[in-house]
């Protein structure tokens, strides 16, 4: 049973700096322990992904959706939306029927 630092590699597929950067993009607060753990776990996972490189997909189109639907539209007709009090019902903080948030800029 492997414990502690599970995976050691000569070259990490993803670095700690990468994980920090990506965490910032995803607005995900991670502590030092988590950063370490995720770096080694994700490195191991991404290593397993390298198998995809074996395949020649140069002439293969990507599949984003398996169904043959495109641009499903409806008529641009205005109709009632939700009452405001329902929309803000789950808000952790509100003021004057609006979502209340701390300042964006310092």
């Amino acid at each position: 049973m492997r414990r502690g630092r599970l995976y050691t590699h000569a070259k990490m597929a993803i670095t700690r700096a990468d994980v920090e950067y990506v965490a910032r993009l995803a607005r995900l607060g991670l502590d030092e322990q988590e950063l370490d753990r995720l770096t080694s776990e994700l490195s191991h996972i991404l290593d397993a992904m390298q198998a995809l490189r074996q395949l020649d997909t140069s002439a293969i189109p990507p599949t984003a959706q398996v169904i043959p639907l495109e641009n499903v539209m409806r008529d641009d007709v205005a109709r009632p939306s939700w009452p405001v009090q329902d929309v803000i019902k789950n808000a952790p903080a509100t003021r004057d029927q609006e979502f209340l948030v701390p300042p964006v800029l310092d």
């Binding site: 492997r2 994980v19 607005r27 995900l28 994700l42 789950n90 701390p102």
Partner: protein, 495 residues
């Protein structure tokens, strides 16, 4: 009839009782609720929320409709919904702390359709957080346990939904399947579980994990019951732009049309057999099942789905990428949970709320997904995975030119012990080896009970062409009726 006798019954048997006025919907609802209240906490722990008052109200309405002479297939039938489907005024958590106090302001389409059909909602089922997992150990609340052995997992991510049906808390429940999250827990809990064709069932009101993969589907104890539920939930929805505009057959009627499997051409993909990590007892059950299908008149041929081995890597790039986008909305502003420290700005609220209220697996997948989509890596990871997805789909298309259905094991193993696979994410991901390719190709797949391996349930998977749930159900039904597995009851069911 005693409570015990009522809660054993299938949908069709309950409907029979209701129609003949031998039991009321209220009596039936109460029988199931009492069973849940007596057993759930101390056995499987399948439910996050029990909706007694709501259930009794719905049961009373169903009784009025029955009294007025209505006879529809789900009228008065109790059921459970995976807590990833929004329910108006009833807390919906997606198994996460970030939605711990979230109360939706409307029903999702499927919730609404089932309510209109006269079903009775007993409660919301536990699940791996945001549907990410294969054991329900990633629930932010508690792990659900397997009704056959309480030290073992029920599978995931729809573990609560599967365990509840296996424990006879309801004749049916709904779960969701993105990479196997209905089929795998169905196999591990000894019940029937179906993932419909992508687009067959509306996703409006389904808390999204991976939008190109998610599908809602039923858990039942008989294939006929699955056919009934599928007819009620399938069909186009204008609120879901990925839902297909295709007619919905009466799947239950079709089951009875042709009982024999003579002339049915079934394919056995060699990549799903003799795999490292396949438990011998599971393998033996599947071989026996194949023999049974042959006795029923089906012919088998070995085929190849050559890109099967790339399924896991493909899925674990596409699904996390899509989830990273779908979970961006949980920001501490709109959905109740929020971490706001003195002096914090908005970015702090985002980071702290998401950092503290998301669990490990969710964070892992958000980071993986964001990375795979980020500039410089998009082509190598996400785009590459989408191209391999095309290859995987083409493998199936080619096989379906000559065959009616593909038959495989659902899972390489029977239920494992709690904690056995939580140390290594990749070990956990391997549970979905046989279910993932079907999801990537958008095809329908069912898991049906196929015996026991050392006393634990084994599932047989049947995969069909897109929108050909009828064939899948037909094969599954014929197999079920020729075997005794659907009459075997879990340990908790017998309590």
């Amino acid at each position: 009839m005693s409570n015990q006798e009522l809660t054993r019954l299938s949908i069709t048997a309950l409907r029979d009782l209701l129609h003949r006025r031998e039991a009321s919907a209220l009596e039936i609802a109460r029988a199931h609720l009492e069973r849940i209240e007596a057993l759930d906490d101390t056995t499987v722990r399948s439910l996050l929320t029990v909706t007694r008052a709501h259930a009794e109200q719905q049961a009373q309405k169903a009784d009025e409709r029955i009294k007025a002479g209505e006879d529809s297939p789900l009228l008065g039938v109790p059921m459970i919904l995976k807590d990833v489907m929004i329910t108006n005024g009833i807390r919906t958590t997606a198994g996460s702390k970030i939605l711990e106090h979230f109360t939706p302001i409307e029903d999702g389409t499927i919730t609404r359709r089932l309510a209109e059909a006269g079903t009775v909602l007993l409660g919301k089922a536990n699940m791996d957080e945001f549907a990410m997992g294969s054991s329900t150990e990633n629930s932010a609340y508690w792990p659900t346990r397997n009704p056959w052995d309480l030290d073992r997992v029920p599978g995931g991510s729809s573990g609560g939904s599967a365990a509840a049906v296996g424990a006879e808390f309801a004749p049916f429940s709904l779960g969701t399947d993105t990479g196997g999250s209905i089929r795998q827990p169905a196999a591990l809990c000894g019940v029937v579980g179906l993932k419909p064709t992508y687009g067959r069932v509306s996703r409006y009101g389904l808390i999204a994990f991976a939008s190109s993969l998610d599908q809602i589907g039923p858990f039942t104890r008989t294939v006929e019951d699955t056919a009934i539920v599928l007819s009620a939930i399938a069909g186009h929805d204008k609120c879901d732009s990925t839902s297909l505009n295709a007619s919905v057959p009466n799947y239950a009627d079709e089951l009875h049309k042709e009982p024999s499997l003579k002339g049915m051409r079934l394919a056995l993909p060699r990549e799903y057999f003799g795999v490292e990590g396949m438990e011998p007892a599971v393998d033996a059950s599947i071989k026996q099942a194949i023999g049974e299908l042959e006795r029923l008149g089906a012919t088998f041929e070995e085929v190849s789905l050559p890109h099967t081995q790339y399924g896991l890597a493909t899925y674990y790039l596409i699904a996390p990428a899509e989830c990273s986008a779908n979970l961006a909305r949980y920001d501490g502003v709109k959905y109740s949970s929020s971490v706001r420290e003195p002096g914090a700005n908005l970015w702090d609220v985002y980071e702290k709320t998401r950092g503290q209220c998301f669990g490990r697996e969710v964070k892992r997948r958000i980071i993986l997904g964001t990375y795979a989509l980020s500039s410089g890596y998009y082509d190598a990871y996400y785009l590459k995975a989408q191209k391999v997805r095309t290859l995987i789909k083409r493998d199936f298309d080619q096989v379906f030119e000559r065959f009616d259905a593909v038959v495989t094991p659902t899972s390489p193993n029977a239920a494992f012990e709690l904690g056995a696979k939580t140390q290594d994410p990749l070990a956990m991901y391997l549970n979905d080896l046989f279910t993932i390719p079907t999801s990537l190709a958008g095809l329908p797949g069912i898991s049906v009970p196929a015996g026991l391996a050392n006393g634990l349930p084994v599932g047989l998977q049947i995969i069909g062409r897109a929108l050909d749930e009828s064939t899948v159900l037909r094969v599954a039904h014929a197999y079920e009726q020729a075997t005794e597995w659907h009459n075997q009851r879990s340990r908790v069911a017998q309590l």
